[in-house]
Symmetry: C2
Subunit: 472 residues, 2 copies
């Protein structure tokens, strides 16, 4: 540890109290735990940092950032560390500020239906707090048991019900942030309407900690769906998936999720998680639909939808889950894919989005690219197809070593990103940019946009201390 760090440690203890400041070698946390605060699920970067701060209030955060700003010390904001883009990795001796202790409710407004919470609240806890008050917070995904709401906001999280509820951006009414200058900005979350100048809140949503630290949020709540029905469909051709999706537009039943997977993916789930076959005969593609059911007539609507897509010969088979257990099985076909793949294969993940109408030609181009230049590379294809969001995972061929495979993937990526750009898609639908996709940002944003982003970063973080090296 350098003298600078020693000074920083003592200064920060003076500012915040010693129970909120930890160092790698102070023996207060075991090394594994200490390191875990400086990394995420990306696993390609090693944490390397000395000072961890666990603030309890926005004022604590402001004091710490102000100190860092005065002394030009870099900061990594740390939430639930469930990201896949290296956005929360501290690998260059930054100070890590983890919001893990900032998990309290600040306020509840029953008229607006909003909860004001500290940003370190675990997403699942927010679900529970909403439920306790007769409300529902609809942003949901696999990692909600450990992700923080602040991290969700900083990465504009999506999840499985975006097709109905939108991204988390749509559920944030107010934010409190500490900028890279240590200033506290409180974007009013008490009111629905406030047309008084630029909506700065939206800059911080999805900024991956590069402008400041989100310390509190006012989230909107809604009413929970009364009941749901999960439907699993066998779809013979890719183009039918889009036709089925379009068909759902013709019915007023609320479609909560519209997911898809290939037979390749289903086989991996069956193989590794021991789930039964959904249908007697296999199919090239499968679609999972989840519908909200409020009353008896909704069941009839659901039958009408299935009848319509059956009559149009868009599916070869289909089944409505009859109970909660079967709901879970159907969801397992889709949500078990990542786990099954990680159990037995080396995988290179990509999380991309495309206009639905360009998806088929993109997939065709992508297959051509792989078969012409990367023989043996197989694609595990699944995702939130209703949102145009594909999880395009490339599975390592047996004959390649891991390092050869990842080396090859580094060549595939820019070629794939070029295809995505050509088809007007995004190189990162949900996972963000972080460290991992920084070099490829130009495939989704123009140089003028990137220059503007840098200039905006300089407004809130003139010394570049907030999560340096991420995104921009």
């Amino acid at each position: 540890m350098t003298t600078a760090t020693n000074n920083a440690k003592e200064d920060l203890i003076r500012l915040l109290g010693k129970e909120k400041v930890f160092t790698r070698d102070d023996g207060k946390l075991d090394l594994g735990t200490f390191d875990s605060y400086g990394t995420d699920r990306t696993k390609v970067y090693k944490p390397n940092y000395q000072i961890l701060i666990l603030p309890e209030t926005t004022e604590d955060v402001a004091r710490a950032v102000d100190y860092a700003y005065q002394n030009g010390i870099a900061i990594v904001p740390s939430g639930g560390r469930t990201g896949y883009a290296g956005g929360a990795v501290a690998k260059d001796s930054e100070i890590v500020i983890s919001l893990t202790k900032m998990n309290k409710i600040v306020d509840f407004d029953p008229f607006l239906g909003t909860l004001h919470i500290q940003a370190g609240m675990i997403t699942k806890e927010l679900h529970a707090q909403a439920e306790e008050r007769g409300f529902y917070f609809p942003v949901d995904f696999a990692a909600t048991g450990s992700s923080h709401i602040g991290g969700n906001i900083a990465t504009n999280a999506g999840g499985v019900r975006v097709v109905h509820y939108g991204l988390i951006r749509d559920w944030i009414l107010g934010l409190t942030v500490v900028t890279g200058k240590g200033d506290v900005l409180r974007f009013n979350g008490e009111i629905l309407k406030n047309n008084t100048g630029y909506d700065l809140k939206h800059l911080f949503i999805g900024s991956e900690g590069t402008l400041g630290i989100i310390t509190e949020a006012v989230v909107k709540l809604t009413k929970p769906p009364k009941d749901i029905r999960v439907v699993f469909l066998a779809v013979p051709e890719y183009k039918n998936i889009l036709e089925i999706f379009k068909e759902t537009h013709n019915f007023s039943l609320p479609l909560l999720a519209f997911e898809f997977l290939t037979d390749y993916c289903l086989n991996k789930v069956k193989e590794h998680l021991g789930v039964p076959d959904p249908f007697p005969a296999p199919s090239e593609y499968y679609v999972l639909m989840e519908y909200e059911i409020s009353e008896e007539s909704d069941e009839e609507k659901l039958f009408a939808i299935l009848e319509s897509i059956t009559e149009k010969e868009l599916i070869t088979d289909g089944s409505i889950a009859q109970n909660t257990r079967q709901n879970q099985t159907f969801w397992k076909y889709r949500e078990g894919i990542s786990e099954s793949l990680s159990l037995a294969y080396t995988v290179h993940k990509n999380d991309i989005s495309l206009p639905l109408r360009n998806m088929e030609t993109f997939l065709y181009d992508m297959q051509s690219l792989l078969s012409s230049k990367y023989q043996g590379f197989e694609i595990a294809l699944f995702g939130h197809i209703g949102d145009g969001n594909l999880h395009l995972n490339i599975v390592k061929p047996k004959e390649l070593t891991d390092s050869d495979f990842f080396q090859k993937c580094k060549q595939v990526d820019p070629e794939m990103f070029q295809l995505i750009q050509k088809h007007k898609g995004s190189i990162s639908a949900e996972h963000g940019i972080g460290l991992l996709k920084k070099d490829y940002l130009v495939f989704s944003r123009s140089q003028t946009e990137i220059d503007s982003m840098r200039a905006i970063k300089a407004v809130f973080d003139p010394k570049g201390i907030m999560n340096p090296g991420k995104v921009l």
Copy 2:
């Protein structure tokens, strides 16, 4: 006209063609029409400008702005000029760029349900274009027959169904803007998910033309409500209004609008627009609710809601409109207020928002303020109460001259804005800041926020040529 302007005129004709460039004295437009392009509905500022440009494409706009940027000439972007804050006033010899000819459809995506349009399309035309394609664009308000969609976006328009559909911000997927440097930024509207750096689009929404000119938009569409029911309620006490609103949360029937007015307002509408009494006995307050009805069981839900609020003695009377004509009458009670007031009185308008839970104490404080310091001032109170949005109109006492009245209002405003700030509201819910409320921005945004806004403006408009003097 100065030599500079003469040069500008000739240069712009060279750049754009003479059919797109107009001057005050070229005789191509009568003076009234020419002037109308440089003003809005505020009526307190006089237009004073020499050059009007009517571009047809984003490239036209970019060429004009680039020229203005190179030569340091100020620009006022002009849409349908229906604003109430002076945001579209050209009073200091700016060039006016009106998007009135940019009213074409660029693209339609039936999968996403989006329309890509030029920003000069009239809002009502967008409604029609959506309907023609089996969709619905839900942002609606009195001025949609003349307002442009670009102006709606630049002011983050709301309207009568925000309580259900949100503000226009929620319906914008993509934007094309020309910045104050003449750069064209195209924020991808082809995809729902794109977590690749800062969402700059949201900065331009609600920026009132101070960062650049919105030239195209990709708007999301939804499905139209199958049917609606309009309900009018007599409410004896203010606090009951909030109780009724809370009660609506307990039912799954979609509430499209929740509006209120005082007896004072209803009397003005009856007096000047010749509508019948809604109920045999008058009431201190009235509430208008509009519900979406999709099927028969929804009618039962509506009855259940009315039964519940009747049982709880929250209303003294209530009526469900039985046909389209009655729908219109009920809406007239609410939407006829502005017209009735303007027919017979001098009025000082305010469009504010407050947390619903603070509304009652705010109104009490406001009444105390008026009766202690501004005797004879009466308040016409109505608005989108479900959104916490009040139209607080102060009606001139007979004994005051117009100029004395407005002088007094200038004293009332900051005192009222202080109350709004104390109760955590906004000094401008929908109308924006423009010229009219610029001096009062500090009552809704902190100095640090305002400084950040100025610095962000400098990123996109370094020479300060975009709508100078507005907002900041």
